[in-house]
Amino acid sequence: MMTIIKAYYSDIITRASLMQKTEKIIKEPLLEIDGLSTHFKTEHSIVKAVNNISFKINKGETVGIVGESGSGKSVTALSVMNLIPQPPGKIAKGSIIFNSPTLGKIDLVKLSDKELRQIRGNEISMIFQEPMSSLNPVYTCGDQVMEAILVHQKISRIEAQKRTLHLFDQVKLPNPKAIFKAYPHQISGGQIQRVMIAMAMSCNPSLLIADEPTTALDVTVQASILELMEQLRDEHDTAIMFITHDLGVVAEVADRVIVMYRGKIVESGSVWKIFSDPQHPYTKGLLACRPRLDIKLKHLPTVSDFMGVDQKGKIVEKEQNKYKSVGEALLLNVLSEDEIHKKQQFLIKQPPILEVNNLKKHYPTRKNLFGKPVEFMKAVDDVSFNVYPGETLGLVGESGCGKTTLGRTILRLLEPTSGDIIFEGKSILGYSNRELRSLRKEIQIIFQDPYSSLNPKKTIGDIIMEPMRIHSILKNRKQRKEKALELLKKVQLESKHLNRYPHEFSGGQRQRICIARTLALQPKFIICDESVSALDVSVQAQVLNLLNELKEEFNFTYIFISHDLSVIKFVADRIIVMKEGEIVETGFPNLLFDNPEQAYTKQLIQAIPKGNLEEIRKKILKRSQNRSAPST
């Protein structure tokens, strides 16, 4: 245990010298936000999305704004661009002073539309989260970047085309000429995001606002995009306002970090300061509740272990805090190597509960004249593995690797092309519809998106009682209602919630309702398909803890599907890494992470933003070297 303490705090010793180095970079401010408040008017009340915030961004600096959904980080970005939809939105107060190279110091709030258009895309540009919908599908990528150039600069089309190709080269797109002529749907998500960056950089802006630019991307792609952005920033001396919910990403790119909570800035400081010595309980909670790669925890600390919110919505530090600091929260929950080893040995000695043999699921992509398929998309290709009772099998891979298809095929929500699935010694592939329905009682699924997996027209009680009614588990409605209340209590919801509708609940609460619905059938086997991916980190920690507690109580077996290696590392007893429909590697988490056998696994692990102090120190050093290099 001492080693972990050392690992966590060793770098603090070098902190003082490092701080001095980073401090030197600070130049004149580019953007000064002072007392900004943005309000949204709803039917009943005024929502203060951003409430009296002030901060500065200096030239050539990356400022990371971190917060969970609803913290007002995106609204801040839109306010700077003056893109708040009016009505219902309104910048109620405050000033946004932008130090424009051409116009001098101007207040963006007071600018006219014409002046704003000159600024937008030219001096301040923006990259959005969803790469697939941020480019217009009817124009080629080249056309769209050219358009962005032609709007702001009076140059000929041929000149603009040359510039575009040069930009594509700069953002490291393979074969710029081909991409120039390609339509957005013909290139991958990572490439689209590169085109977006090229477009944003086309007029050499002095401020780039990136609103969750890598959230929708795979980890390996994310790593390359982050690297690119950093490089461009250093080359062009562009300031970046980097908005994200992911602390790991912030640690990778930012010089300074601003933590937002419910429209307010709760803490700000250099990235080193925030990560090594967080002051505000919320920041501490956020840092502690991220699943970690270096150690295995019994139980994830949650934000509510650090702070509480009183009835007026004000943050209060809890009097009897469970943990005082991030380090303490982690240390108290560490699982020792012996415990992990013992559990692993116990699990694989049992006969497997589920065997998957040579499972294939192919989709025809092209058919010949007679309707006979000649080409296939191999979503799942010849996959075999066992699952042992009481274990959590982590299934990890990037988007399109077939992990979700595999999960659905096991449930027989999709029909496999060939292969066999044996559940408790019986092949489930030959099951008739009626047998299938009773199988559904044994194997359950928890979906990714808590917003669309609940029928919006039914009450929570109805939703939880429906599975019991289908399988006639209890005799009458009254008994079922009692059971539903019991289940709600189990997933930490209240009995008054029974008659409410899904839209009245937050994402985390909805996911708990989904879990309660699953529990209603008392299944043996649960497939969690990206069940926590749509949730905020703090909520994610709660749901993961709940899933683990329920597993202990009911002795469930999970297949936990996720793209997030750190989540998988926390929950899984064994891990399967998938790529392009095939299994790349299988192993126990500790072995797999310390010593990956396959190059792909290694690449995947390396690409995760770690967010630990060692990495941050390296980054800061690298950055200060890059910056001082050209001047000397």
């Binding site: 449930l411 929500l413 519809n433 329905r437 009773s438 559904r440 009682k441 359950q444 699924i445 979906f447 990714q448 998106d449 669309s452 997996s453 609940l454 029928n455 919006p456 027209k457 039914k458 429906e466 599975p467 289908i470 399988h471 989904c514 619905r517 059938l521």
Partner: protein
């Protein structure tokens, strides 16, 4: 009060008034001075506030006001009931097949090979026997015919078993959605107006028949709309979650899909009622709609074709028709806004 609220409330009040008028039409028309009876001494009387006929009379000497009152019932009846039939067919045919899709209903190839036999059997027992045998009830239930049926079924079973054993065991999908879609396309490529004229000339267009015919012939568009809605809903995860907890297709349809498509259906229904009221008026005006003995706004207007001087026959039913349309559209717009 803003103008949008004024128009909304007045629409609601007007439609409510029409509805009550429709229900109580017979009573109102039976009051003194109100009569839809012909009076051949008083043809084309001009509107006059002092006379018995406030809004004048038509070509048969019937009171225009009374006809408009009774015609309200006709219009509402035709509009609401035929739209109801059309929506119901749309939900059952378009909605269900769209929801289930092409890759669910599986049938052994044997049954498809034998389907002509099934059809013959159905025709014989379901149509030929009941129609052509006198006192068929006795025959139908008598044992020789039933025995024949049992034997035929046994032979068929044997045949199925043999074919499965010897020729093919293949199971094929029946592309329900595809078949329905093509059927609707063929169906709606025939001009509805002409079809209606043809059908009405064959069947006596009483109010009930007419309503039924319009309902049956306008199901195509409602089926397509509801299908589109279902295909959207089908992709939501709560539908998949329904299958995962063990719901069957029909149950999932009723439990998940139907309540969620209801808003769209209500909007479609509201506008549809307006359209059908207009269609009925048009057809009746042209003289190919309701039977002559039925009373309706369109029929009333048709009287003006005989006497172009009789402006009141166009003006009063015309006003009520337009106001009804406007009110219905206002309600539809409100429903749309509410749902958004």
């Amino acid at each position: 009060m803003p103008i949008s609220k004024v128009s909304l409330y007045s629409s609601i009040i007007f439609l409510g008034f029409l509805f009550l008028l429709g229900i109580g039409a017979d009573y109102v028309a039976s009051l003194q001075n109100f009569s839809t009876k012909s009076n051949f001494e008083q043809l084309f009387v001009k509107p006059n506030l002092d006379s018995d006929y406030i809004l004048g009379t038509d070509q048969y000497g019937r009171d225009v006001l009374s006809i408009m009152v009774v015609g309200t019932r006709t219009s509402l009846f035709v509009g609401v009931i035929s739209m109801f039939i059309s929506t119901l067919l749309g939900i059952i045919i378009g909605g269900l097949t769209g929801f289930i899709g092409d890759y669910v209903l599986r049938v052994s190839l044997v049954h498809i090979i034998l389907s002509p036999f099934y059809l013959l059997l159905l025709l014989y027992y379901g149509y030929y026997l009941p129609v052509n045998l006198e006192q068929w009830q006795h025959f139908y239930l008598s044992w020789p015919l039933l025995a024949v049926l049992v034997i035929v079924i046994l032979i068929l079973k044997l045949l199925i078993w043999l074919i499965k054993k010897l020729i093919t065991k293949k199971i094929v999908y029946i592309p329900l959605d595809l078949v329905t879609q093509r059927f609707i396309e063929v169906f709606s490529s025939i001009p509805m107006f002409l079809t209606l004229v043809a059908v009405i000339s064959l069947i006596n267009p009483t109010l009930l028949n007419f309503t039924f015919i319009i309902g049956v012939f306008s199901w195509g568009s409602s089926a397509q709309l509801i299908r589109a809605e279902m295909i959207k809903i089908r992709t939501f995860q709560y539908v998949e979650a329904g299958y995962a907890i063990g719901q069957g297709y029909i149950r999932n349809f009723i439990y998940n899909a139907l309540p969620n498509s209801l808003p769209t259906i209500i909007i479609f229904f509201t506008y549809g009622v307006g359209n059908i009221i207009l269609l009925e008026a048009t057809l009746s005006f042209l003289g190919i709609g309701l039977a002559p003995e039925e009373v309706s706004w369109g029929r009333l207007m048709a009287g003006a074709r005989q006497n172009l001087q009789a402006w009141w026959l166009i003006l009063f039913p015309g006003i009520i028709l337009i106001v009804t349309q406007l009110s219905i559209h206002r309600m539809g717009r409100q429903a749309k806004m509410k749902i958004k």
